[in-house]
Structures are given as structure tokens and as C-alpha cells.
């Protein structure tokens, strides 16, 4: 990680605080209108998808219905749910948009998400051993972890995780790897498992039982469409999230270097451990503005649609302090993610040999 002394870190903290204060002072109707417009778009798409789905025996309608429902789930999860639960709209005092009571349209229980994501991941970002989001205890993504033969097949794990992403996220708090190592007992995880069954069951019931049943004669079509919509959402959100911290230049940290860290150091870690990708407005909306992962990680509770506006200021701060502003096209960033997953599936000697070869892509 880039080394900065205490005075430099203080200055970084002040520079970023200034950006944050400016946005906070300006929050108001524009932000409220924005999120309500997105909520309206989500409701319209979901209604459209659910209404069209039974007519899915007409192929183009099936495609439209599945796409509408899939996009509605993406928007609800990424731009509404994730951001609302970060407290980005708590200031509006609208009970429907409150961080601690919002429940989203995915298998993961919101309380579990608030714990593992908002607290653990955002506080201990990319600290190996403390941020379980780094590789999801499933993938080896840096040489901080020793290579084991099982890692050689991790690309299959990655594909499976992406396909069943909502279930992976929902089971994240189970800490299966720690249970296997005997560090926690299954009994301690009972309260979590209850929440998992309640919420996961609710989601499965809705998409795979209720809506197919009420449209009985065309149940298989509705079931297939709902599975398709969930799959679209799973693949897209997994991809966006992997681009956030596992690109080529996103750094990792050790527990020692972060012990008792200052706010300035926390800021530095958020900037160097995250990565952006570029795209048009629609891409940013569908990614819940996690395409501005760096801005999101330094200001997780500012309304996300503000990230594009403050991005230039954050870039200027990065430039001033000599911090790499990690961005690139979606294809380029995602390419480096895939390469990271593949290369760390190899033993270190092979990996070094492979990565030392001149790049052809």
C-alpha cells in the first residue's frame, strides 16, 4: 500500500471531508426526487414483468417479461436496496426508505446484509482475514492466502457463485469455512439460519411457487421466466461486485498495518482497495453506481447518484496525493478480474511464470 505519513493522511482526510460536507449541505428535493423516480421505475418494471409473464408462451413476450423482471430486480437490489440500507436516504425521514427497516427483493436477509456488508466489509475493506468479502472465503485472489490444490478448480466455484449469487450472499454470514475449521459451532449460527430460512423461503415461495401457481395452466413458463429473471440479476450483480475490489490494481491489506488506524488511513485504504469502471448513465443506474466503487467506499452513505458529480473532485484529491485512481472500461476491468481468479488458481511458481509473459489481450 502507498505509504503516507500522519500529516499527509490528515490532509487527505480533510480534503475528502470537504467533498462530503459540500454534498451533505446540498441534500434535498433533487435527491428525494431521484430516488422516488427510481422506485417508480422499479415498480413499473416489476408490474410489467409479472403481468406479461403468463403470456410468455409467445416467445418475444417471454423475453420482454423476463428482461423486465430481471432489470426490476437489478434496480431494486443495486440502486434502491443496497443504497437505502447504507443510510443514503435516512435524512429523508421516509419510513419506506429507512436503512434499518428496508427489506430487499433477494434471498439475503437485510439484517444479515447490514452486518456483513455495511459493517464488516465497509469497515475492514480488503483486510485479509477480516473482510470476508475478499474472495468470499471461496476464492483465492491474492498471495496472502497459501495455495492449495483445491484452488486449481476455483474458476468453477466462481461460475457457480455467480449463477447462484443471491444464495451465496444469503449464506455469507454462516461462515461455513469457520464452521468447518471448528471455530464456530452450527448452534451459534441458529439465529442466522432462522433468518435465512425465513427470508430465503419467502423469496423462493414468491418466485418459484406463488406466481407459477396462480397462473397454473402456464406455470412452467412463469417458473422459467422467474428463474431467468433471478439468473440475470445474479450474474449482473456478481459481475459488478467483483469489479469493485478484485481488479488488477485493487490492493489488499494486513491486519497489522490497519491496527488503530486513523480516519485518513481508512480513507486511503478505501481508495486503494476499490476500483471503478466507466459506462453510460444506464450502466451506472444498473450497477447502483457501484461503477463508482471508490467514491462509494469513501462516502458509503452519500446518495449514490451523486458519485458521478463528485468523481472529478475525488480524482483531483487522488492526483494531489499521488493515489492511483483505478478506473477503466467495463471490459478491461472485468478482464483483469477474470485473470486474477484464474491466475491465483495456479500455484505461485506457475502463476508468476504466466503473469510474466507479455500481455496479448
Amino acid at each position: 500500500m502507498k505509504q503516507m505519513n500522519e500529516a499527509q493522511l490528515n490532509e487527505l482526510e480533510q480534503d475528502l471531508n470537504a467533498i462530503r460536507d459540500e454534498v451533505l449541505a446540498d441534500l434535498g428535493e433533487r435527491d428525494a426526487d431521484y430516488i422516488r423516480r427510481v422506485v417508480r421505475l422499479h415498480r413499473s418494471l416489476e408490474v410489467a414483468g409479472r403481468v406479461m409473464m403468463p403470456f410468455g408462451f409467445i416467445p418475444p413476450v417471454f423475453v420482454a417479461a423476463t428482461a423486465a423482471l430481471g432489470i426490476s430486480k437489478i434496480i431494486e437490489n443495486m440502486e434502491i436496496g443496497h443504497n437505502v440500507m447504507h443510510g443514503q436516504y435516512d435524512w429523508m425521514n421516509d419510513p419506506s426508505l429507512h436503512s434499518q427497516t428496508y427489506e430487499w427483493d433477494t434471498a439475503c436477509d437485510s439484517d444479515s446484509w447490514r452486518l456483513t456488508h455495511n459493517y464488516e466489509h465497509h469497515t475492514y475493506t480488503n483486510i485479509i482475514g477480516k473482510d470476508r468479502d475478499y474472495g468470499y472465503a471461496l476464492l483465492r485472489l491474492s498471495d496472502d492466502e497459501k495455495w492449495r490444490p483445491a484452488h486449481s478448480l476455483q474458476f468453477i466455484n466462481y461460475v457457480l457463485l455467480s449463477v447462484f449469487f443471491q444464495w451465496g450472499v444469503a449464506l455469507h454470514e454462516l461462515e461455513f469455512e469457520r464452521i468447518r475449521r471448528g471455530e464456530v459451532s452450527l448452534k451459534e449460527k441458529l439465529p442466522f439460519l432462522k433468518g435465512f430460512v425465513r427470508k430465503g423461503g419467502r423469496q423462493a415461495f414468491k418466485d418459484y411457487v406463488f406466481f407459477p401457481l396462480v397462473t397454473f395452466p402456464v406455470a412452467p413458463i412463469v417458473l422459467a421466466g422467474n428463474v431467468g429473471a433471478n439468473l440475470i440479476r445474479n450474474l449482473w450483480s456478481s459481475t459488478v461486485i467483483f469489479c469493485g475490489h478484485f481488479t488488477q490494481d485493487a490492493e489488499t491489506f494486513t491486519e497489522e498495518e490497519c491496527e488503530g488506524e486513523s480516519k485518513g488511513h481508512w480513507y486511503l485504504r478505501q481508495l486503494t482497495g476499490s476500483s471503478n469502471f466507466s459506462g453510460n448513465r444506464f450502466v451506472h443506474l444498473l450497477s447502483g453506481h457501484l461503477s463508482y466503487q471508490m467514491e462509494h467506499h469513501v462516502f458509503p452513505d452519500l446518495p449514490a447518484h451523486r458519485y458521478p458529480e463528485i468523481s472529478e473532485k475525488v480524482q483531483a484529491v487522488c492526483k494531489k496525493h499521488g493515489i492511483h485512481y483505478n478506473t477503466g472500461s467495463f471490459a478491461r476491468q472485468y478482464g483483469t478480474v477474470l485473470k486474477r481468479i484464474l491466475s491465483y488458481s495456479l500455484p505461485d511458481r506457475l502463476r508468476e511464470k504466466w503473469t510474466a509473459q507479455p500481455q496479448t489481450a
Binding site: A32, R43, N93, S96, S99, Y119, T123, D301
Partner: protein, 367 residues
């Protein structure tokens, strides 16, 4: 229609499964609101029918609540919610109309005075137009007219007349026969709220004695005094209703107690605008955790999370540095200073993060 569906528990359960929320009917609000704002389910919408000027700084808003609103008793108040610059503001006001009016044409009235510096009252005066909708809560409050026909004394000040208007009108309609006296304190004759209505009541209802007293028309302020009460015949046996500024209510309570009127025969109500703390005020203060019914005092820059934990509460928390919002909860009143920004909050209801909020004066938190 959806609210009716919610009443059956099976459908309520199904709604929760399908829409992932405790109030499933409100799921469609963003769409319904576009079609007709009166269809919103999250709160009870009320349409502004008319706005009438009472005095230079007081207006009466005639509202028509949606059909599911449950009604009220004379003297009760309601919470209203209004979005101002993206922020939902909740305030409590007394209803100034009689329940009979709501039964006959479905309207209720709020009579609201501009508060100097008040965010909501000034916004309502300047921006709330006929046709707009606001949110209305169910009526509540124990400031109610007696069941038996006892003699009554009302002492009201300024905009404190509003619940009294509702009660007087109700009593007059029932042709209440026991004597009723109203001592109404206003700054000047120009500040009499609902003057016309009060004079009409006096004319048509012989039980009412009306005494309007201007406090600020002479050199020295003219407050409530013994002589005013001497004029009220049989005052010892009257049930008393007080509504107005704190100074007036304290004075009236003292004077009435001296005449042997017991507390259970004195009813008072009034909503004063919460006062914001000054920047120079010391940090720390009395903290009330309302859900647990615990009061503690704090000193210095201890954040509410530490204060709550010291009081043996265990609120949910995470990073303890203002990032994760795990400890976000609702402050119902009081001012807090945000440790990260150094800025003071407003005095009213809002969401705060316990780990970075330091009380500045008395604070009440829903915990």
C-alpha cells in the same frame, strides 16, 4: 381498497411475502400517487380544500381526509406529515373544527399560526395551496369535553384557541346548558383568531360568556389576574381547560390551585415549537430512551451510543465511527451534534447515528 385487503390477516401475510414489507399495501404508492395522491396507503392522505386567512399571521386550512380516516373527538390533535425540500416533517396540531362538520361534509380544519423561524408553519403559510395533499395521522389526546353537564372555564392564549374552538362549537350544537366562560388572551385586537365565529357563538348560545383580553395594547403587558377569575361566577365548581403559551398556563394553574381547584379538574394541552439548541450551549444533557423508559444525564462529548450502553441498553452497532449506519435510530426531540461534521441537528424528529451523535441539551431517542 388495498387498506381493506390488509385487514384480513391471510392477505396481510401474503402481501409481506410478495412485497417484503410490513405495510405491503404501500408497495404501490409510488405508482398510485401519480394517478391520485388520495390513494396513497403509507399514511392517510388529506386534500387541502380551502385556505382561509384568520389574522395577519394565522390561516385556517380546510382538509378533506381520505375515507379511511377514523375521525376524532372535540379537543383532540393530529400529527401531520409534509415533505419539505425532500425531508418528511412531522408536526402535531389541534383540530379547530367540530366533529359534526366532519360527519356532515368530511372536512376538518387546522388553524395554524406562523411561528417566527418555524420551518413547517411558515412553509404551510407560503406554499400549501388548495388541491395539495398532506399526510394525516389518527387523532389522539385527552383534552376532551366532560360527559356530565358541568360548568366550564376555558383559558386560552393566542393559537391555543384552536382545540377550544372545536369544543365550544360542539357544546353549542348540543345546546350545553351549564355556564361556560372563555378567557381568551390575544396580543392585540387584530390577533383574535376566529373572531367572527366566537361572536356568533356568543350570540346564539346563551350559556357562553366571552372575555377577550388584549395583553399588549397598553404600556405594560396585561396578563391574567385575580380580577379576571373573580368575574367567573362559581369558579370553584368549574372544570377548567387551559391551552396557550407556557407562561399563561403556569400562571393560570397557580391561580386556580390557590382557589382550591384540584389538578384532576384542570386539563391542559398545547404544542410549542421545539427550540433548537444554540451553538454556544454546552454538550451533554438529559437523555431519554423512550422505548425503554430510561432517563440518564450525560456530560461532555459522550456520544449517544456510549450513553445508551452505560445505561445498560444494548443497541445494535457496528463500526462506531459513523460509516455503517447499524446504530441509526430515530431522535424524537432535542438537538445533537454530529462528531464528524461538527454540525448541530434540528430540534425535531429525525434519523441519527448514535455512535457519532452527541447530545446538546435534552434529547429523546426511540430506543
Amino acid at each position: 381498497m388495498l387498506s381493506r385487503i390488509e385487514r384480513t390477516s391471510a392477505l396481510q401475510w401474503l402481501g409481506k411475502q410478495l412485497f417484503n414489507r410490513e405495510d405491503p399495501a404501500a408497495f404501490f404508492d409510488p405508482l398510485l400517487e401519480r394517478i391520485n395522491p388520495m390513494w396513497v396507503q403509507q399514511y392517510t392522505p388529506a386534500r387541502v380544500e380551502r385556505v382561509e386567512d384568520e389574522t395577519a399571521d394565522t390561516k385556517t386550512f380546510v382538509l378533506k381526509p381520505s375515507k379511511r380516516w377514523a375521525g376524532f373527538q372535540a379537543g383532540q390533535h393530529v400529527n401531520i406529515c409534509i415533505d419539505i425540500d425532500g425531508i418528511r416533517r412531522n408536526r402535531t396540531f389541534s383540530l379547530s373544527s367540530a366533529p359534526a362538520q366532519w360527519h356532515s361534509n368530511g372536512t376538518v380544519t387546522l388553524t395554524i399560526k406562523r411561528l417566527p423561524g418555524g420551518l413547517v408553519t411558515n412553509w404551510m403559510h407560503d406554499n400549501l395551496q388548495p388541491g395539495a395533499t398532506i399526510g394525516l395521522g389518527e387523532a389522539f389526546g385527552e383534552f376532551l369535553i366532560p360527559e356530565a353537564g358541568e360548568p366550564l372555564l376555558y383559558i386560552a392564549g393566542g393559537s391555543g384557541i384552536t382545540p377550544v374552538l372545536s369544543q365550544l362549537e360542539t357544546l353549542a350544537a348540543a345546546n350545553y346548558e351549564a355556564p361556560v366562560t372563555l378567557l381568551y388572551f390575544v396580543r392585540t385586537q387584530a390577533d383574535i383568531i376566529a373572531a367572527q365565529k366566537l361572536y356568533e357563538l356568543r350570540q346564539n348560545w346563551t350559556s357562553l360568556t366571552l372575555n377577550i383580553i388584549a395583553t399588549n395594547e397598553s404600556e405594560t403587558p396585561r396578563f391574567l389576574k385575580e380580577a379576571d377569575l373573580d368575574e367567573v361566577s362559581g369558579i370553584e365548581s368549574r372544570r377548567c381547560y387551559l391551552c396557550g403559551p407556557k407562561g399563561l398556563m403556569d400562571l393560570a394553574t397557580d391561580l386556580l390551585s390557590q382557589r382550591g381547584i384540584t389538578e384532576d379538574r384542570m386539563h391542559s394541552t398545547f404544542f410549542a415549537a421545539p427550540q433548537a439548541a444554540l451553538d454556544t450551549d454546552a454538550l451533554g444533557g438529559e437523555v431519554r430512551f423512550s422505548n425503554s423508559d430510561i432517563n440518564v444525564s450525560s456530560e461532555g462529548d459522550a456520544p449517544l451510543l456510549d450513553i445508551a450502553e452505560a445505561a445498560k441498553l444494548s443497541p445494535r452497532y457496528g463500526c462506531r465511527m459513523g460509516i455503517c449506519h447499524q446504530c441509526s435510530c430515530k431522535k424524537t426531540s432535542g438537538t445533537v451534534v454530529n462528531r464528524l461534521t461538527g454540525k448541530s441537528s434540528g430540534p425535531g424528529e429525525e434519523n441519527i447515528q448514535l455512535c457519532v451523535s452527541v447530545p446538546q441539551g435534552p434529547v429523546t431517542v426511540e430506543l
